[in-house]
């Protein structure tokens, strides 16, 4: 085992962590906002709103992320109207293409998570709130959302981990996040086993931290159930 080499590549890979986390955070944030809108559309009473939203969710969940990245990175440039518009300077950059693809992708999955979480709210709780005179935003803010968040959190934590893993695909469109640096190191030195093992360990550590953070958050939110846990 060449520890000096391992230490060296480890330091180089650490430089990729900020970009990985940045891609994850921006996409999750944008994806969550989008997911709320999509979810509102999916549960809409109007077929014209519901149809496209459902198709959106199904399409993004039913095709590979790498394909979505390619479609955005290579495909959008073909649309002349887009090339002349003000967003082209952004969409020309692989960084924004990756962010766009990751955001759209996670928004479809997150919309499903939100749907499941809201559906898991017991109807009795809503009835009780209504009979107390709550409705609209008050009902959502006091009853539906707090219960839904507690139901959805465990599922959402695995979506966050999936996203951290998914950012590795940004390396294919030339971004130098952890996997991008790893691949470059591997093709420079060809000591692939050490290099990919170290990279794997970094991702494992990141995911471990994230799942711990979610476990703590869950414990905090479910404090009122502490006596049942024991």
């Amino acid at each position: 085992m060449d520890w000096l080499f391992i230490k060296d590549i480890f330091h180089q890979m650490l430089l990729g962590i900020p970009l990985t986390l940045q891609l994850t955070a921006i996409s999750l944030l944008a994806g969550f906002v989008l997911a709320c809108l999509v979810q509102a559309a999916v549960t809409s009473r109007h077929g014209l709103v519901r149809g496209p939203a459902t198709a959106y969710v199904e399409l993004f969940r039913g095709t590979p992320l790498l394909l979505q990245i390619f479609l955005i990175y290579y495909g959008l440039g073909q649309i002349g109207l887009l090339r002349q518009s003000f967003i082209w300077p952004f969409l020309r950059e692989p960084y924004w293409c990756a962010v766009l693809a990751l955001s759209l992708n996670t928004s479809a999955y997150t919309a499903e998570i939100i749907r499941g979480a809201v559906q898991a709210v017991p109807p009795g709780e809503i009835e009780a709130a209504r009979s107390c005179g709550m409705s609209g935003l008050l009902l959502r803010r006091r009853i539906i959302w707090p219960i839904a968040v507690r139901h959805g959190l465990p599922v959402y934590s695995s979506e966050v981990i999936q996203m951290i893993k998914a950012t590795s695909l940004a390396s294919i469109i030339t971004l130098n996040e952890i996997t991008g640096i790893t691949y470059r190191l591997a093709s420079d030195t060809y000591r692939v086993i050490e290099i990919f093992t170290v990279a794997g360990a970094i991702y494992l550590a990141l995911n471990f931290v994230v799942s711990m953070a979610f476990a703590i958050l869950e414990r905090f939110l479910n404090g009122h159930l502490a006596d049942r846990r024991a």
Binding site: P64, L66, F70, K165, L169, S171, T182, L204
Partner: protein
């Protein structure tokens, strides 16, 4: 424009119909073999994780934690480049010079299978834990031997509980095969990439690939739901 599109996707001269169709076949085959390998690994992993010996449980735990926590693409790279390195070393020692790389399809199937196996381990384990203990006790008290118990009681019920989760894992395995394009396997994504590059029509070809993935996923999902319905019969009232 429309005619040109038809010609590009058609089966005539200059059409990409045949290459795309055979690439779709490669994708489906890689997904099926990968998923099947994953099932074998998943049952083994569940057996390890449910074992009484702490060492076996730890091995199972290590397998699922590592394989579910690392990006699939790193695993594919590791298997392909690492495996090729070993192969080259062995060939060089036995007197054949030069560089040797592993066959893309087999390596890809193994990589997809190993990842899928980690998720299937959890599916099988959870399904087995949902199985009512009384069922096994009842079987034992009827004098069933272990193989008979496994065949008549444990396998049908565990499979029934695991099927919905397995359906989701199948969909992920299908989509994961697209990553095998990075090690040069000519599956659907790589073939459409080649077509897009040589015709300068990325939008068209990647959309076709998206439609193909979507359709394959939909059709196989419907098929799986049929199997699920069939297995559900004893539970229906």
């Amino acid at each position: 424009m429309q005619l040109e599109t038809l010609r590009l996707l058609g089966f005539g001269p200059g059409g990409w119909g045949f290459p795309l169709l055979s690439a779709a076949g490669v994708t489906v085959l890689a997904a099926i073999f990968g998923f099947a390998l994953g099932s074998v690994l998943g049952v083994t992993g569940a057996y390890l994780k449910l074992s009484r010996h702490i060492m076996l449980r730890l091995i199972g735990q290590f397998y699922t934690t590592v394989l579910r926590g690392i990006p699939e693409i790193l695993i594919i790279y590791l298997f392909y480049f690492g495996g090729s390195l070993w192969l080259t070393k062995i060939m060089n020692i036995s007197g054949y010079d030069g560089f040797y790389s592993l066959p893309g399809f087999a390596t890809g199937v193994i990589a997809v299978g190993v990842v899928s196996g980690a998720y299937q381990t959890e599916a099988f384990r959870a399904a087995f834990l949902r199985l009512d203990r009384g069922q096994i006790e009842a079987g034992v008290s009827c004098g069933m031997s272990r193989p008979l118990l496994l065949r008549r009681i444990i396998v049908p019920q565990t499979l029934h509980f695991a099927l919905p989760a397995l359906g989701n894992i199948w969909q992920s395995a299908l989509k994961e095969t697209s990553l095998l394009s990075v090690i040069g396997l000519t599956e659907l994504l790589r073939q459409t990439g080649i077509a897009a590059g040589s015709t300068h029509q990325p939008l068209l070809f990647f959309s076709v690939a998206a439609a193909a993935f979507f359709l394959i996923g939909r059709l196989s999902g419907r098929l799986l739901r049929k199997v699920e319905d069939h297995m559900n019969k004893p539970w229906r009232r």
